[in-house]
């Protein structure tokens, strides 16, 4: 895909075209927090396509029926890098049975690792988790007389996000707390796909309010509608 050409010609593609880059074994990063803000149409498409052996990188394991939860429940995920799996009991069971490898990261650290990947940095120095198991497998470094963990940046083969609105250049705005990890994840994919509630013409978004500039976005697909109104139902 010539991203440059896409920049001028519009990035809106079919769901099938978007799914063509999500193949067995890819590292897939996703936005969302407890499923809110995880692109439901893309997740459903991935499930229907039958992709297997995924590495998932995101905040949480969703719920069994919500967010990336169905990918885990349906055994499409070999490895998960997340901050908690408490809302998806199946993830915990699979982990205990050795069928799902889980790497935990403190939430703020994961957010910054993803952002660092998106920003082309090698990593960040953070003192959260010093003196805990978060130290495991991490280099430590002293800067200005203080100790920090070296947390490597994260990038993924494909990143998927949910935006309330996207324009033809892939400029994105989010809605309320469905923003969460999405603007970070949007920058950290080798290819980034945005699922948008609404796709609008160039100039329809106030440039002052754009959260993710389109230069980070490779493809835009139309959402078939959100389906995460669950936690209070």
């Amino acid at each position: 895909m010539d991203v440059g050409m896409q920049a001028a010609t519009g990035k809106v593609v079919s769901l099938d075209r978007a799914l063509s880059v999500i193949t067995d074994g890819v590292a897939l990063m996703y936005g969302g927090f407890g499923g809110v803000g995880t692109p439901p149409t893309l997740v459903e498409g991935i499930l229907e396509k039958g992709v297997r052996n995924l590495t998932l990188i995101g905040n949480d394991a969703g719920m069994p029926e919500v967010g990336v939860g169905p990918l885990i429940v349906n055994r499409r995920v070999a490895r998960l890098i997340a901050t908690h799996i408490g809302s998806n009991p199946v993830a915990g069971e699979l982990m205990h049975r050795g069928e799902l490898e889980v790497e935990f990261s403190p939430q703020g650290t994961l957010a910054e690792r993803i952002r660092a990947g998106g920003m082309g940095l090698g990593g960040i120095l953070v003192d959260v988790g010093l003196g805990t198991v978060a130290e495991k497998g991490r280099q430590q470094l002293a800067v200005g007389g203080r100790s920090y963990l070296v947390e490597p940046a994260l990038v993924a083969d494909v990143a998927i996000v949910y935006a309330a609105r996207a324009d033809l250049l892939g400029n994105l705005v989010y809605e309320k707390t469905a923003r969460n990890f999405n603007p970070l994840v949007a920058m950290a994919g080798r290819v980034t796909i945005a699922e948008a509630g609404e796709i609008v013409p160039l100039g329809a978004l106030d440039p002052e309010t754009i959260v993710t500039p389109g230069v980070f976005i490779d493809m835009v697909v139309q959402s078939r509608g959100i389906k995460w109104k669950w936690s209070w139902e």
Partner: protein
Amino acid sequence: MGVRERLARRAAREIRHGMVVNLGIGIPTLVPGFVPPDVQVLFHSESGILGYGGRPRPGLEDPYMINAGGEPVTALPGASYFDSAIAFGMIRRGRLDMTILGALQVSARGDLANWLVPGRRVPGMGGAMELAQKAKRVVVVTTHTARDGEPKILAECSYPLTARAAVDLIITEMAVIEVTPSGLVLREVAAAYTVDQVIAATGAPLRIPPVVDRYGEDEGRA
């Protein structure tokens, strides 16, 4: 009023006008209901909002609006939305006046364990490490003992830690205990319990000052 509500009510008394406060999942989410209306608080959520308000009326929930516990919330005037990196920047930078968290274990030094029960439950730490390590004041609300009767307040935590030397105040159904540099100090005993009962249920040395307040006087025994 059940135990959970009584703990939340006592925790709410720690909140001062104008504070920026983050609430963990579970009992802490009940705290806002016990904050007096004249005490204005900015509630912070890792999901990316500062200044959220109470739960909307049934049917008016917004699918785009949740707090870190996944509960529907509303936005108050002056609220702002931001990504999760900024949400944690606020925490690490020390801009949170207080966090109220649940606990599995708390040590005499204020070590907190609240994210993993070895061999049983591995939910993950979520944002608890940042909150426990970086909020200006860390208040823990928890039952005084585990379901099997084992003390949760211990000389040393046996579970993996969330943060070291993090907790400032422990609120249980039996007592309010302050973590000081010289160890745990009993500040209040619940109306339904005696000091000796608290000591017996606590797995760490407890200093008993000359004056120990009562709390929850109006409630009677649970």
